[in-house]
């Protein structure tokens, strides 16, 4: 299948951009950053076309459906959303240091999809997935997850910046934006993630209501999505409290991303439930 071939090359290109972004940070030379941006955008275009090709291929196998129906496809889309959001942020902020973290996140997701015995074949849709809600539910959830992934990167950068001794002026950290800007950006990205997670939970509820006859059933996946939602709701409220900005918010946002990962992976592999087709 041509889409898998494109996707494996894409993974290597993302890795190359990660190395270049890192070089930019270490050497302090902008030329590496510019090269990294070009590679990232090129890989994103390839990534997008691979997803579209996979969609077309599924029709050739006579089981046409959007490529969001199993674990492999969700990983591919997750990585795509991370890169897309990053590229948008780079374009808006004109800062490339986030690229080091975001491209690494994308590489890790793509590598997981290709190495660890994840079934990459196109599979037909089982009856429960035959719903108009599949596409909206998956898109909202995973762009939300990707936003939280970027927020995790920003929180990590914030904490790195905080430990940086102003006298030593670590080279690595020079290219990272000021903590105020990081914090504001982090908040904006968390808002995007929170709105999309909410939409993901709502579309999931509407779907569950038509498939299983209830909109909420405390299934582990549902419960963990609620836990994630509560943690980020706490993050958003904490900003309005004295002394909760900055470090505490960054840590809470990182905890939030662990909840996202557990909602996504932990529930599939550790707990059992109705979402088992996503493994």
């Amino acid at each position: 299948m041509i889409n898998s071939v494109i996707l494996s090359y894409t993974t290597f290109v993302y890795f190359a951009s990660f190395m270049l972004y890192l070089l930019m940070m270490v050497m302090g030379k902008d030329v590496f950053g510019r090269l990294a941006s070009i590679l990232t955008i090129g890989a994103l275009i390839a990534h997008t076309s691979a997803i579209i090709l996979r969609w077309i291929e599924s029709y050739q196998f006579d089981m046409g459906h959007a490529p969001f129906s199993n674990f492999y496809e969700s990983l591919i889309f997750f990585a795509w959303a991370v890169v897309l959001l990053y590229v948008l942020i780079e374009w808006r902020t004109k800062n490339r240091s986030i690229g080091t973290f975001a491209s690494l996140l994308a590489v890790l997701i793509m590598a997981y999809a290709s190495f660890s015995g994840v079934d990459s074949r196109i599979q037909p849709l089982i009856p429960v997935l035959k719903s108009n809600w599949l596409i909206t539910h998956v898109i909202t959830c995973f762009i939300g997850y990707a936003a939280f992934g970027i927020a995790f990167c920003l929180s990590l950068m914030y904490l790195l910046k905080k430990v940086d001794d102003p006298k030593r002026k670590g080279i690595l950290l020079k290219t990272i934006p000021d903590s105020d800007i990081l914090e504001e950006l982090n908040y904006q990205v968390i808002i995007i993630g929170f709105v999309l997670l909410t939409l993901g939970i709502i579309t999931g509820s509407v779907w569950a209501h038509s498939a299983w006859g209830r909109y909420w059933g405390w299934d582990p996946k549902e419960t963990w999505s609620l836990i994630t939602w509560l943690v980020y709701a706490a993050v958003l409220h904490s900003r309005m409290m004295r002394g909760w900005r900055g470090k505490k918010m960054a840590i809470l946002s990182m905890i939030g991303f662990f909840c996202v990962i557990f909602t996504y992976l932990g529930v599939n592999f550790i707990l059992s439930g109705l979402h088992s087709y996503a493994t």
């Binding site: 037909p124 089982i126 009856p127 929170f194 779907w207 498939a211 006859g213 909109y215 509560l230």
Partner: protein, 467 residues
């Protein structure tokens, strides 16, 4: 001044419930307790887990409702406290918000113009009145209403957008209450139930999930056929139940129930939920000892009685299972009653040859396992037919539309809270010697970067307009 004690108590309570700290604490507590519920097996799954606990631990879990955590009183109490906290916080903040919302527009403020970046000022060679009229037209076009104040030397113009954005947060909080109320209505006035209908059968009652009691439908449901389609790779493609709904014995509606395509009839919504089969007719053959001839072949349902030619004993198929002990395959339990009233019972297996190789011969000498227990005959189970049934969910939830309404309000509230802002824009026009100086300033309640972009745009548009 000393307040009366009870009033002070009420004040303290009010302060506690209107604090953001409580909100944060409750959100985190709710997250952590929800987490426990995913680690401890709940409801049906809890039974096996509970057996492994020591009696005292079991009692402890039972007392705290940990086997059905999400429906326990204390869990609901946490949600209730959060709702209360949310209401009181909103009530507490409302006066401030209303003040902001109603605040009069003041065109002649000088503070926004302090520390104005240089690119927000420009000079034109036009008279102050001409400039004033043109700017007023522009702002009116872009922002609707404007407020102005002018003297021969100075002209201030003020415009704004998004005053309503102060209420976004109330909309979000209100929507959460709507969802919770919808949930309560659903659990008080609604029910979840299920029913299995064999192909060709009709049911007129369903079983409530809550307490396993039966509930009459007031109409009946007939399952004509249940069907599973498969893909080439063997995974299921479609589950379909062909149903008929009968009122007082008359067919009122006929429809195919598919997964994701529920059917509502008589206020109750039916969902394709599961399927299965139960043993149907057993196909038995009987041989006489020492003879190769088949004595008799019968096709009987469970409970049916028959007799063999030349024998007065009554033979009945008492039970049949598709997989005895979950490893011995299809089997039928035969009961033979002699005329004197003596009864013997024994199992007859379909895969007897295979089983004889698998298990010690002595096992099939035991009277209950020996298909030759009724001398001089030997019984064989040729085939066990199966009857399909469809498993339906049958639910009623009058709260669900309120929940959906709450969701729509929540999304609208998010857009108002996060993506709109109250943007105030001032344009100051000053007369200097033979030129006119124009300055553009602004203030916002959130998203300052968006405002900066807007001010840049307004400045450049005005510059073009007046050049």
């Amino acid at each position: 001044m000393k307040e009366p004690n009870n009033k002070r108590g009420a004040n303290i309570l009010w302060n506690v419930f209107s604090s953001m700290k409580l909100t944060l604490a409750l959100l985190i507590i709710l997250a952590i307790t929800s987490l426990f519920g995913t680690l401890i097996p709940q409801q049906q799954e809890a039974v096996r887990f509970a057996q492994g606990l020591s009696p005292r631990l079991h009692q402890f879990f039972e007392l705290l409702g940990l086997f059905d955590l999400y429906h326990s009183l204390w869990f609901r109490a946490i949600i209730g406290l959060l709702a209360l906290n949310l209401v009181i916080c909103s009530v507490n903040r409302l006066p401030t918000t209303l003040k902001l919302f109603r605040a009069p527009s003041r065109p002649d403020r000088s503070k926004p113009f302090e520390d104005l970046p240089p690119q927000r000022n420009f000079l034109v060679e036009r008279g102050i009145e001409d400039v004033g009229n043109r700017v007023a037209d522009f702002l009116r076009n872009q922002y609707g209403r404007i407020v102005s104040k002018s003297t021969p030397e100075k002209n201030y113009l003020y415009a704004e957008k998004g005053r309503y954005s102060y209420f976004g947060v109330y909309l979000v909080h209100f929507s959460i209450l709507l969802v919770l109320i919808g949930g309560v209505i659903g659990s008080v006035f609604g029910f979840n139930a299920y029913v299995n209908i064999l192909e060709g059968d009709t049911v007129d009652s369903i079983i409530l999930t809550k307490d396993m009691t039966s509930k009459r439908l007031g109409f009946s449901v007939f399952c004509e056929k249940f069907n599973v389609d498969y893909y080439d790779n063997g995974s299921p493609k479609e589950f379909r139940s062909d149903l008929g709904f009968l009122v007082e014995g008359k067919l009122a509606k006929k429809a195919s129930l598919l997964m994701n395509r529920p059917i509502t009839f008589g206020g109750i919504t039916f969902y394709q939920s599961s399927y299965g089969s139960i043993p149907g007719k057993a196909y038995l053959s009987v041989q006489k000892e020492g003879s190769d001839l088949v004595e008799s072949i019968v096709r009987v349902e469970i409970g049916d009685t028959f007799s063999l030619p030349g024998s007065e004993s009554q033979i009945q198929v008492v039970n049949a299972v598709s997989n005895l002990n979950e490893m011995m395959g299809p089997a039928a339990l035969i009961s033979v009653k002699s005329r004197e009233g003596e009864e013997i019972r024994f199992w007859v297996f379909q895969n007897i040859e295979k089983l004889r190789n698998q298990y010690p011969e002595a096992m099939f000498q035991a009277p209950r396992m020996n298909p030759s227990s009724f001398k001089p005959y030997t019984f064989f189970l040729k085939e066990l037919e199966s009857r399909f049934y469809t498993g339906l969910q049958a639910n009623k939830n009058p709260g669900v539309s309120l929940v959906w309404f709450g969701c729509v309000v929540m999304v609208a509230g998010f857009f108002m809270t996060f993506f709109t802002s109250h943007r105030k824009i001032w344009v100051r026009i000053l007369r200097s010697t033979d030129e006119t100086k124009i300055s553009v300033a602004g203030r916002t309640n959130r998203n300052p970067l968006t405002l900066e972009k807007e001010l840049d745009l307004v400045t450049s548009q005005l510059h073009k307009l007046l050049d």
